[in-house]
């Protein structure tokens, strides 16, 4: 029988298009849909957009399961009732602006037809061309989507949106399953390529396999901050075979930075830090091709936060709490796992360390966020904003003077290196899944010489649960680090 494919109304929403979904939702979805085998099965989910500079991601969140009788299924086809569609549309409208619908369905294995391919069939095309104009034309600003899952776990997907006054479609390049780890399922439209000479990273490949190598070669990692921890992170990522880096920092290199910053030669002093980072990364990179975009600005400006949405994973290497607030929210709202690293040390009067801490904390659905962990509190942020007048409200009314300090704390390379190493171990787990469990916040303390994992759970009612996967519908306030 000839397969008469119809051509869908193609257009380009973005240079790159992804779908992302929380790992728990994905597991629930798979378990329920495959239980219907050998029949096909489907459901609608609510979608929200996450629009970056070059990539648009459609985030899938609430599942709207069909009621009995709303879907008629056989091993080869599905019939969705008008009631189910109408109920799903109502749910999208009730959820607010920019919320659309995603139709997920399976192609199961059957005795008659064998394995089900994760590819859209001509019948799928025909059906969607009838369905999605109804869904998209009435939901301006929303981006809808369709996903088909094959019996071997392979997927194909596309997005649908209102382009002027018609419905348009674009193939999806990848599907991210997030929380706490990051899995990326390639679709037939995936532009990913393997390293042309994999032998150069043979020893690493023995740990994370060819799949891990391919993932490293193709994922895009953002590094917010190119100082003590940022520079070491960039050096390591380039060396490990990461293919694409985006680096932000507005600072200019000073001579005082050199003793604790990787790649900072004498010639770099007086120039933007990110220029030195680009030169260093290009010298050490083992990925091929390797790209690094450096941005002489803070990652937490409005433009920076938009561009961070192009990343699959982010390293938070900023030195202020205020910058951590938007980066933490971005990790959860846009399903972009983020590794936060920070160091702090305090010498006593005899210049002996009486307290030291370095930590690496994963921000990703399923892991308590910085607000749960109380790294971020509104009180801490206010205290930081008080600058040279820190604690004034507790002192002035009692006639006490302010402590005189320039606010500059000690910082040394080995401590930063330790924090970055903890972060990189977490990175291998999140991106390459080298073991079975992702840790929460890892902290190293002196004078105890102790490495500890936080046992704090997700705080009841915390925003990190409410905002997970809400994308652009969740307001994140930019922060400029200019002072």
């Amino acid at each position: 029988m000839t397969d008469h494919r119809i051509s869908l109304p193609a257009a380009e929403l973005s240079q790159e298009v992804h779908i992302a979904i929380g790992a728990n939702t994905w597991r629930e979805l798979q378990a329920t849909l495959w239980a219907k085998g050998p029949h096909e099965a489907c459901c609608f989910l609510l979608t929200r957009p996450s629009r970056g500079m070059v990539r648009t991601t459609v985030l899938l969140r609430e599942v709207l399961w069909p009621e009995p009788g709303e879907v008629i299924a056989t091993p080869r086809r599905l019939e969705i009732s008008a009631n189910y569609l109408s109920r799903a549309m109502d749910a999208a409208i009730d959820a607010g602006p920019m919320v659309g619908l995603c139709l997920v369905h399976t192609h199961p294995k059957s005795e008659e037809f064998g394995e089900g391919a994760g590819l859209f069939s001509s019948r799928d095309d025909w059906y969607e061309q009838r369905l999605f104009p109804t869904v998209t034309l009435s939901r301006e600003g929303a981006i809808s989507a369709s996903v088909v899952i094959g019996s071997r776990g392979d997927v194909d997907a596309r997005v649908w949106w209102r382009d002027n006054n018609r419905a348009a479609a674009q193939p999806v390049h990848g599907m991210r399953i997030v929380g706490p780890e990051l899995r990326i399922l390639e679709t037939p439209a995936s532009p990913w390529r393997d390293h042309p000479d994999p032998a150069v990273m043979d020893r690493s490949t023995r740990l994370w396999g060819e799949e891990g190598r391919r993932r490293l070669q193709n994922i895009r990692i953002g590094v917010a901050g190119a100082g003590g921890t940022g520079s070491l992170t960039i050096l390591a990522l380039a060396t490990m075979g990461t293919g694409h880096l985006l680096v932000w920092d507005k600072d200019v290199a000073r001579k005082e930075n050199r003793h604790r910053t990787a790649g900072m030669t004498v010639d770099c002093v007086g120039h933007p830090k990110v220029i030195a980072m680009r030169a260093m990364a290009q010298s050490f990179a083992t990925a091929e091709p390797f790209t690094i975009d450096v941005i002489e600005d803070w990652a937490t400006t409005s433009e920076g936060l938009t561009r961070l949405k192009d990343c699959d994973l982010v390293f938070c290497c900023v030195d202020k709490l205020s910058a951590r607030a938007p980066l933490n929210d971005l990790a959860y709202a846009h399903l972009i796992p983020t590794i936060d690293m920070a160091s702090w040390m305090h010498p006593d009067r005899n210049l002996q360390i009486d307290a030291l801490m370095t930590h690496a904390h994963v921000w990703s659905p399923g892991i308590p966020c910085a607000w749960c962990r109380e790294t971020l509190t509104s009180y801490n942020l206010t205290r930081e904003a008080q600058g040279v007048q820190q604690g004034i409200e507790n002192r002035i009314p009692y006639g006490l003077t302010l402590d005189q300090t320039d606010g500059v704390e000690p910082s040394v390379l080995p401590l930063n290196m330790l924090g970055v190493s903890l972060g990189l171990m977490e990175f291998m787990q999140i991106a390459l899944r080298i073991t079975t469990r992702t840790p929460r916040d890892l902290k190293f303390f002196l004078p105890e010489w102790e490495l500890d994992e936080s046992d704090r759970p997700v705080r009841n009612g915390c925003d990190c649960v409410l905002m997970a996967g809400r994308g652009d519908t969740w307001a994140i306030s930019p922060v400029s680090m200019d002072s």
Binding site: S322, A325, Y379, E393, I396, V479, S483
Partner: protein
Amino acid sequence: MHKPSELLAQAVSDLSARSGHQFEISPETVSGTNLFVVHTLAHEYRQEYTVPSGGLGFRVPFNFADAAPEDCFFITAAGTKLKVPDTVRNSSDLHRVGVTEGFVAGSALGNVPVLVFSWHLWNRLPWDRKKHTLFDHYTHCIRRFERPEHD
């Protein structure tokens, strides 16, 4: 140098609308800090004070509402005393306040000393960045005018 964000400007506008007092925000942050001054020029004080009314305000971080308003407030009449000495403390000084210079530098008030009130405004109910407003903070502040002058 930070400028007030749209969100912060809107929060001050909402505060004015809800409080009935015309609040304004300083165009830049107080020197050495990332705090803006939010104040109104004519606000009634406590009846027991020697000065019946004057300026009242507080300071708000540039990254409001992630960061809470500072846990204190000020009045501009820095010489304000109690009309009748507090019998518990045997003093005409206001309780837990201090005259502070440089607290409102950069605001329309000029670099004048102000009387800063320590008041644990948010110790029982923590600031919720997605829920609380400057009006909530303001109502906490003026509760001070309704409480005893001593602990």
